[in-house]
């Protein structure tokens, strides 16, 4: 459970509000998708959960991260490190740079097991081979002695997933796990993650900037904008009735197969706001075609729209109706 978590990065005179009072709850076996444009705070949120924010970052009160009943902020650094890699695993965006280029992958997979579970070299190696098989790498017994550059991008991401799974984590954080991969491999990796999650009944946070990736794979979807969650609902519900114009814009930005050839790609006008100088009122207002006086004057809060755990932060939400 994440409760009113903020991450502030002092940057010269100003403070960048990378994550601003984000709250959500995630149950065992459930997947939460975090969706938003680049720079909206998704990755920083993940890092905050892992305790890997940059040294100068501030986590102002009353933000809390509670994992399995423990307040992570109250733990000693050592205990916290015991959770990372042990009970919380993480998959990074770019598998090409996420593996140490001068270390055999076997050792990289074995490392967290040797460290957290106290396995011997032989035990850890045996288990690493099993893990490689579990993430769908053929000839695992020989591939284990490969260096990362000998593997393809998709295989490397499988190795990264194997590392994240090594200590049987209860929570898996996948930070844009497919963004850097070939389109053909993306679906395979996402399906693999979903299968592994079902098998091990882990909780998973799936970060993406693509609503299409999320559809059908996440139980719940939260849309982030400028460091805040602006709409959150069970995924089916969200797609059925988008209330936020930002969510709709994200959805419209996905290219569709039935678009006519040469159709212009839809983009969201304008740029993400400067997180160091957020406008008063709704942070999406400057880019919103439907903004009215109230939007620039007063910030909307995340409220329930009275329908199946659907929450949104907009003064003038889209009319409820079938999506285009």
């Amino acid at each position: 459970m994440v409760d009113r978590l903020s991450v502030h990065l002092p940057c010269g005179e100003s403070i960048v509000r990378a994550v601003d009072e984000v709250s959500f709850t995630l149950e065992r076996g459930q997947t939460l998708a975090l969706v938003g444009e680049s720079g909206c705070g998704k990755s920083m949120l993940c890092r905050a959960i892992m305790g890997l924010v940059p040294g100068r970052a501030l986590l102002p009160a009353p933000g809390r991260i509670v994992f399995a009943g423990q307040d992570l902020g109250a733990l000693e650094a050592g205990e916290r490190a015991g959770l990372c890699g042990g009970r919380i695993g993480m998959v990074l965006q770019d598998p090409l740079s996420a593996l140490n280029p001068v270390m055999k992958i076997g050792r990289q997979i074995a490392e967290p097991m040797r460290h957290h579970l106290g396995m011997t070299r032989v035990q850890a190696r045996q288990r690493s081979i099993e893990l490689l098989r579990a993430v769908g790498i053929a000839q695992a017994a020989t591939r284990i002695d490969c260096y990362p550059h000998q593997l393809s991008g998709g295989m490397r991401q499988r190795v990264v997933i194997a590392i994240a799974l090594a200590c049987e984590p209860q929570l898996l954080i996948a930070d844009e796990p497919t963004t850097a991969l070939d389109v053909t491999v993306q679906a395979e990796i996402l399906d693999l993650l979903a299968d592994l999650q079902q098998e091990r009944s882990m909780a998973m946070i799936l970060v993406s900037h693509n609503l299409g990736v999320v559809a059908g794979r996440a139980h719940e979807t939260a849309v982030m904008y400028a460091g805040r969650i602006v709409e959150q609902a069970p995924t089916g519900e969200l797609f059925a009735r988008m209330r936020m114009r930002y969510t709709r814009a994200l959805f419209d930005a996905i290219p569709r197969l039935d678009d006519p050839a040469q159709a212009t790609l839809t983009a969201i006008d304008g740029q993400s706001p400067d997180l160091a100088a957020l406008p008063d009122g709704c942070s999406f207002a400057p880019r919103c075609a439907h903004a009215e006086a109230r939007c620039t004057g007063e910030a909307p809060t995340l409220v329930s729209d009275g329908h199946a755990r659907h929450r949104h932060a907009c003064w003038f939400p889209c009319a409820v109706g079938p999506t285009a």
Binding site: C84, L92, S97, A98, L99, N100, V102, H149, I163
Partner: protein, 318 residues
Amino acid sequence: MRFVGGKFLHLIVVILAVTVLTFAMLDLLPTSAAYAVAGANASAHDIAAIQEDLGLGDPALVRYGKWLAGVLRGDLGVSLVSGQPVAQAVASHLPATVELVVLAQLFTLLIAVPVGLFSAWRVDSRFDRFCSALGFGLTSIPSFALAMVLVYFLALKLKWFPAVGYAPLSAGIWPNLKSLFLPAVSLALVEWVILMRVLRSELIATLQEDFILLARAKGLPAWKILLQHALRPSLFGALTVFGLQVGNLIGGAVIVEQLFALPGIGRLLLAGIFAQDFTMVQGCVLLIAVAYVAVNFLVDVGYGLLDPRVRCGGVVRG
């Protein structure tokens, strides 16, 4: 290993080129070696006789061939001044130089690597800034000036180490190390700075990499991240600098050798230059050049050991 084989062929070619240059250097001198042998008051007749004797009348290519054949047999000619075989003189001066280089570079590593690691881990910390300032201060002092300070305190005041002189290994390992300690430290106190700076900046870049983030996400302690993940990919620049330093010290520690009266190659070379002992100079220069090339060959092999990507086809890191 094909990688090493290819590098080795390259090494042979470079060393051959070195012998040509070394030989040509002597041949192109405005004065003939015969004048040096005969002395200032020799008659033209004497000079001609000596030239005949040294085979200086032959065409250059023939003389090069003869010289190279000699070199391959380990015969570098005889000193024009003392008549001692050059190879013998070089061999007797080699141990002091090799020991000095090994010890000085050992101290250099012992200071540079821990300081580099810690500075990079806590960039801009007090420790980092202190070490940077100290380093710049030390590099701006010549090593012989430092050496004199060290001698004054550690040798003359505290009498821990001998002020000058070299005790060969045959005199026992302890006196030997004691006689080399001060010269090695005074070299290392200057050398570590560059090595540390290179290592530090490369480590800082490595620590920004995703795989370090992943290592932290594994919950590994800081020392494991630094030593097992960050250090090895950050050693390229430091290895290059290390190789150059070793090469430089083999003939270039003249002042320190002179100051501590160490019978090293640098001093032998210097004495040869003053005495116009051209065959001696030629022998020393050849040795220094070969050592330099050999060290850089080892550095190249070292790249391959550090990074598996270099081994299988020349990936160059940016």
